[in-house]
């Protein structure tokens, strides 16, 4: 269904080489892959396999070394705020004097001109995003005083408020409680109905098997990509993770 001949890819990578300017070794070599509207993809692979690098390249945080990456048919980095990226928890300074509502409102900043105050519509969008992520009652709490799971939900609420076409989440399930995990999964399902393309990097293979329609297995190259039930084979997992692969 997703690979409908008539639909154009949301994200298109062709012979893309990904890595960092000053490292001699590329992280991902010659990647060719398409993601379509409404694709909900789990990205798995060992540490250092290139999951974060893939996300950072798509969102335009690091330059492409070689090849081509297009978002909506345009070069990556040219899109103002249709790509929302939630980095790993460690990338954020949780001590900052900022409330939950203020963080979620940041999701609107790409759409409000900078001399304007957020309007009534923005406030409504923020309220509904907080409700969907079940953090509305924490709205006036300082972000530092939220639990790890709550913080993760606040950041997903910010992404929802951004109304993105593409959502990239780097390990949203690490060190969160079961309730948070469920709220995140429920919302990913809703995003699929809005044709949002979602890529989620995770280490939780069981969770992937149960909840994600498609899976991308990485280890410095694409080991396998396709329907989860088809690509999560012992052979593919062993190829990506080595001998001590987890059987699911």
């Amino acid at each position: 269904m997703n690979n409908d001949l008539h639909s154009t890819p949301m994200i298109h990578l062709e012979n893309a080489c990904l890595g960092y300017r000053n490292d001699r070794e590329l992280v991902l070599k010659n990647i060719t892959i398409d993601f379509f509207p409404g694709d909900e993809v789990a990205v798995i692979g060992p540490n250092g396999a290139g999951k974060s690098t893939l996300f950072k390249t798509i969102v335009g945080l690091i330059p492409l070394m070689q090849g081509e990456v297009t978002v909506h048919g345009g070069r990556s980095g040219n899109h103002k705020d249709c790509v929302s990226y939630i980095p790993q928890k460690e990338a954020i300074d949780w001590n900052y004097p900022i409330t939950v509502r203020e963080v979620v409102m940041m999701g609107r900043f790409g759409k409000i001109s900078f001399y304007r105050k957020p309007g009534k519509k923005d406030v409504e969008i923020v309220d509904s995003a907080m409700q969907r992520m079940d953090v509305a009652e924490l709205a006036d709490r300082k972000i530092r005083d939220c639990s790890g799971g709550q913080q993760q939900r606040v950041f997903l609420a910010r992404s929802l408020a951004q109304h993105p076409h593409i959502l990239l989440m780097d390990e949203p399930f690490s060190a969160v409680d079961v309730a948070t995990e469920q709220v995140i999964l429920d919302n990913l399902r809703q995003l699929r109905e809005f044709k949002v393309t979602t890529l989620v990097a995770t280490h939780d293979l069981g969770l992937v098997y149960e909840n994600f329609e498609r899976t991308l297995i990485l280890n410095h190259r694409i080991v396998a990509y396709g329907l989860t039930k088809e690509v999560m084979t012992p052979e593919n997992l062993q190829e990506a993770f080595g001998k001590k692969a987890v059987y699911v």
Partner: protein, 279 residues
């Protein structure tokens, strides 16, 4: 009773009070950005980086304050430029630029035969010597800095809290960071008359750190810090008049006292004081 109001009879003292309060407010507000980013080292570095500018201005007979401003802005932009390279971390860039500027300043000053009193004023401040022109400079630049913080609040908020988000929004993070550094440089320049280059870090850090313990939002932190900064400027100067101690040191000690009181209150009466509840 009249004795308590004695300082306010003199024009030069009124100017000093105005300067101390203005500097207290601007330093505290701009200092919030330094505290939330854990960049106390940056404030210290920039404050010492004014030295070569001051020395060159002194040698050429120019305005010392203007020399300080130029030097601080150059070093701020230099730090911003260097730390954009992937191999060099920001605090390394700060360390390199700051020590180089300091060394240049010391080298230039050592060529001056008679060690001038003006230069010690740069290091330790001389708020009692604030002229009308000095006060105009302090208030003028101070208001510009405050206007910039007000106008660009949203940009500075996102760039200091979540620079990755700012980049994904395609904002020019490097330009915004450079602007912030220039604002800090301007703030330091207007402070050197009052508290001196060697103590200005305290005015950037202490009121902001005090306010951070009591507030939940950045703008609340800024306004609260401004109150602490203004009170420190006023009472510090007032005490220095009666106790006959260095005004810069006195201002800093008063702001430290506020910090200690708030810290102890927070530690021993947690949850009952302040605006923040810890979850």
């Amino acid at each position: 009773m009249n004795l308590l109001f004695e300082p306010f009879q003199y024009d030069f003292l009124l100017r000093s009070f105005a300067a101390a309060i203005m500097v207290g407010i601007v330093c505290s507000i701009v200092g919030c950005y330094i505290v939330v980013q854990s960049m106390a080292f940056l404030g210290d570095a920039l404050s010492h980086a004014v030295l070569p500018g001051v020395a060159i201005a002194y040698l050429t007979g120019g305005s010392l304050t203007f020399g300080a401003l130029v030097a601080a802005v150059i070093v701020a932009l230099g730090i911003s430029f260097l730390s954009d390279e992937e191999e060099i971390k920001e605090d390394t860039a700060i360390g390199i630029f700051f020590t180089a500027a300091l060394a240049l300043g010391v080298a230039l000053i050592s060529t001056i035969q008679t060690y001038a009193i003006d230069l010690t004023h740069i290091l330790f401040g001389n708020v009692l010597g604030v002229t009308v022109a000095d006060l105009q400079f302090i208030v003028g630049v101070g208001l510009l800095v405050l206007l910039a913080v007000f106008f660009f609040y949203r940009f500075f908020l996102v760039v200091t809290f979540d620079p990755v988000m700012a980049k994904t929004l395609k904002w020019n993070v490097r330009l915004i960071r450079s602007m912030l550094l220039v604002l800090i440089a301007c703030t330091i320049t207007i402070s050197i008359n009052t508290v001196g280059a060697s103590l200005v870090t305290a005015m950037l850090i202490t009121p902001a750190a005090t306010a951070l313990m009591l507030t939940k939002k950045l703008w609340q932190t800024m306004l609260t810090a401004a109150v602490f900064g203004a009170l420190s400027g006023f009472f510090g100067l007032y005490l220095s008049y009666f106790a006959d101690i260095s005004s810069g040191a006195s201002i800093v000690l008063v702001s430290t006292l506020f910090f200690i009181v708030v810290y102890l209150r927070k530690k021993f009466f947690n949850g009952r004081s302040g605006l923040t509840k810890r979850g």
